[in-house]
Amino acid sequence: SQQGEEDPQALSIQEGENATMNCSYKTSINNLQWYRQNSGRGLVHLILIRSNEREKHSGRLRVTLDTSKKSSSLLITASRAADTASYFCARIQGAQKLVFGQGTRLTINP
């Protein structure tokens, strides 16, 4: 069963604006990962943040992690039309399986 919650479920912004997506989880983690999915098919790994890290950057992506609040956020700066996709946070549970959040559907309007 899903053990992560993401909000918002859907987000629509204008091209060039920043997009922020949030993820909460219920149990302790070793790391939290963010993935992107285009057109309901394969997922692409974006960034991994370890439990002892508070912030991580990759290009236009910035991820924060607050283990005390059991939450993470993904910020996409200067959004582009190509960023339109669904974004999922995921954590490892037990035997290396990924447990995904419900995802945020991001739409970038030109």
């Binding site: 309901g40 394969g42 991994l48 995921a90 549970q93 037990g94 399986k97 447990v99 995904f100 995802g103």
Partner: protein
């Protein structure tokens, strides 16, 4: 290099028929995972293979589902006596550096049971 590949990309089958879905992981990756993504259920873990260890089958929803991995490479997910609720996208992923690192996903197989 080549990524994870899956076949077929789409499969339409009649209720009650058996189906086989194939996954070719990235060469050298020792870990292989199957997930299912369906409307209303999100992404669900199904099964995990790691080297020669016994697979973790804890996510398989029923005994109609089975998977094998031959020679530590290619994997086949078999669904027997398919039901309409089996309709989903089945995603395969592989990982070569241990559980703490990212998984590489294939494009998925969209299964439709009519």
């Amino acid at each position: 290099g080549a990524g994870v590949s899956q076949s077929p990309s789409n499969k339409v089958t009649e209720k009650g028929k058996d189906v086989e879905l194939r996954c070719d992981p990235i060469s050298g990756h020792t870990a292989l995972y199957w997930y299912r993504q369906s409307l209303g259920q999100g992404l669900e873990f199904l099964i995990y293979f790691q080297g020669n260890s016994a697979p973790d089958k804890s996510g398989l929803p029923s005994d109609r589902f089975s998977a094998e991995r031959t020679g530590g490479s290619v994997s086949t997910l078999t669904i027997q006596r398919t039901q309409q609720e089996d309709s989903a996208v089945y995603l395969c992923a592989s990982n070569g550096q241990g559980a703490l690192n990212e998984q590489y996903f294939g494009p998925g197989t969209r299964l439709t049971v009519t």
